[in-house]
Symmetry: C2
Subunit: 378 residues, 2 copies
DNA sequence: ATCGATACCGTAAACGATTACGAAAATTGT
DNA sequence: ACAATTTTCGTAATCGTTTACGGTATCGAT
């Protein structure tokens, strides 16, 4: 079956020149609908797939997208990539994975970026940055290279499209939920303050408190590092407080830290949620399997992945059309409504509060079918 | 900084021809050590990175590796990819992600493979197959395309290198551990029997029982589907048995099913591990955070990822040398000992038993420092 | 000094697409 | 019917690298 089909073979079979075939391949104008149809049929019959390397060379583009992400072992990254993969998989584009081993290894990160620029392999980049990113993106952005930031936790450079999560509102809703359940002394374990998200979530926490007229107690706010160990340590610090100042609820800035807090509570013989309620942030896949199942703020990473991929694809296609401002040029699967993106876009995705057992109000908002054992794997 | 460096610029700067530069790029012979040095220095100074598209076109290869994997949301896949990514990242190769949405969608799978073949984009493929794979690989293998199977759960086709986990021994050790703890009535929740792994694990379970002279009770063996729900259902079936036939320990064929079994136990007021011990298989990242932390058989996916990438790289480099049988041609990071792989290689990785609280013998083999809260994130 | 071998290196032709440019064909207006 | 457009399509150059092939240097042996 079709050992080595080239554009030339298709041209011969269809009785046209390579140029014409190339035109239909790139949905360019200047080709008769009838011939276009004929060529498409031949390609279909022969099962022709263009050689990406060749078109990348000739056109300076590549139908290759890069994904620059922190370790896949971070809980929500796979969800994100699932969304990205589904969208990209429905197009002729392929996805190149640039993953970063060590978060703190800034050199690593800029090395990868310069490599991305130099090899000119991908024609668009999707970047998940856990830290300040401006200086890394300057290189790309200055070359008018399509870049899309996801959940940038620093302050994104001007004019760079990005998509993020509304951390403040998520934290606000979580805290408000605890307040509604009757809690007045609510502690907060922050993420590392070097990340913007930590401030945003803290802000939402404060807002809810203020709204309810609850004074902020600085002793009930501690900084962690997103990992279970610090969750445990901070929770222990809270439990060491004199009884009248001790919190009855803990809002952790990440699910991992919530795990630690729960472990600390249990080690002291405190029951969750009876003695202390715990709410997390993230909705890791494993948070539904915990005992007790964790109430948490879900970050819609799957949806963000889809959305991000669609946007990036639109950018890339747009910059591809740039020099040849013609009619269409969208994939069926890419929403055509997202055609013109000239002003940089910023999208903020909404979070949702997932109520499970760890806050002591399992039946408050959800139907009984949403139990602890459920998981989102498909 | 270096807008568009090509091999031609390097050649000019170094006072040689493009051909010579290309030779050093591909670690080919026939170039004077002094010139090689000079060229390397120039490349270094200029920060030159070859254009992958161009070399892919010209050479018919590509410095691109493909990874065909099931959803990243499967618990151990990210660990695998971490290993792969680290190895590949240390070479000039890039990694293309071909991930499959729905496992049962066999058409999807073969579509992707034919796409891989047709675009001729990658020069080697690493495939994680959760089911029978022979027919999909025929297309690749027949073209002498470097392929490496990981943890193929069916029977791999002849002559295809693959790397897998010793499921039988893992299950054997887990069961033996329970026996040593004094259990005589040990139930087993199998994975889907359409997968070979399920049979292998069952086999290990039987072996341990037989070795201890414990008769196999068919009522204590049920088939699940790897997911928590069936773990719960099977466990409930066990608990419904009359007291004298009821198991005191459950060995689940996956961590997820173990989660379900623990949930079922707790719902009945049975305490884990006091009333019933539970052991899983996989060592999902979240299994350490469970309450109680889960004793389980760890599958070394990270190590497998590294190993697989190294092997695949060696294959690709070997097939690259094929027509130009010269001296060296290995990366510093790729173990040179793995140079010649002519006979297809099959590697079986050992599992390890991770003892935590859910089997009731936390301090049996491990030091106290290995606690439940520990996680393997780096 | 001459002859092979050998080591080194340059020339030029691919590789499979894209695209500027211009020519031919079809369409329109008069 | 003819000029002016407009539509459609082919020619040929080009992208950056690899590699077959052939040409010099170099060197030891005769």
């Amino acid at each position: 079956m079709a050992e080595k089909l080239t554009i030339r073979d298709i041209a011969r079979l269809a009785g046209v020149s390579k140029a014409t075939v190339s035109r239909v391949l790139n949905q360019k104008p200047d080709v008769d609908p009838a011939t276009r149809e004929r060529i498409l049929r031949v390609m279909e019959e022969q099962g022709f797939v263009p050689n990406i390397a060749a078109s990348g060379l000739a056109g300076g583009r590549s139908r290759l997208l890069g994904a620059l992400i922190p370790s896949l072992t971070w809980p929500l990254i796979p969800e994100l990539m699932r969304g990205v993969g589904e969208v990209v998989g429905a197009t002729p584009y392929e996805l190149i994975l640039y993953s970063i081993n060590d978060v703190n290894h800034e050199k690593d990160r800029s090395d990868i970026i310069s490599r991305i620029v130099r090899t000119r392999l991908v024609s668009g980049l999707l970047a998940v940055f856990p830290g300040p990113s401006a200086k890394y993106l300057a290189a790309l952005h200055s070359r008018s290279f399509p870049v899309l930031l996801i959940d940038d936790q620093g302050i994104p450079p001007e004019n760079t499209p990005w998509i993020s999560v509304d951390n403040r509102v998520g934290a606000y809703e979580a805290t408000r939920h605890l307040i509604r359940l009757g809690h007045r002394r609510i502690a907060h374990i922050q993420g590392p303050l070097k990340y913007q998200v930590s401030h945003d979530r803290y802000r939402g926490y404060c807002d809810a408190l203020e709204e309810a007229g609850i004074p902020l107690d600085p002793a009930l706010v501690l900084e962690g590092d997103f990992m279970p160990q610090t969750g445990r340590a901070c929770a222990n610090a809270f439990f060491d407080l004199p009884p009248e100042r001790r919190p009855t609820a803990i809002f952790a800035g990440s699910d991992y830290m919530a795990y630690g807090a729960i472990a600390a509570a249990e080690q002291r013989g405190l029951r969750v949620p009876d003695d202390v309620a715990v709410v997390g942030f993230d909705d890791n896949p494993s948070s539904a399997h915990m005992e007790p199942p964790l109430t948490t703020v879900r970050q819609p990473f799957y949806e963000m992945g889809r959305r991000a991929a669609e946007m990036l694809l639109a950018f890339v296609e747009a910059s591809r059309m740039m020099h040849h401002p013609s009619q269409n040029g969208q994939f069926a699967s890419v929403t055509p409504s997202a055609a013109v993106f000239d002003p940089p876009v910023r999208v903020k995705m909404p979070t949702s509060l997932i109520i499970r057992a760890s806050c002591g109000a399992s039946r408050h908002l959800h139907s009984p079918s949403e139990q602890g054992g459920g998981d989102r794997s498909r």
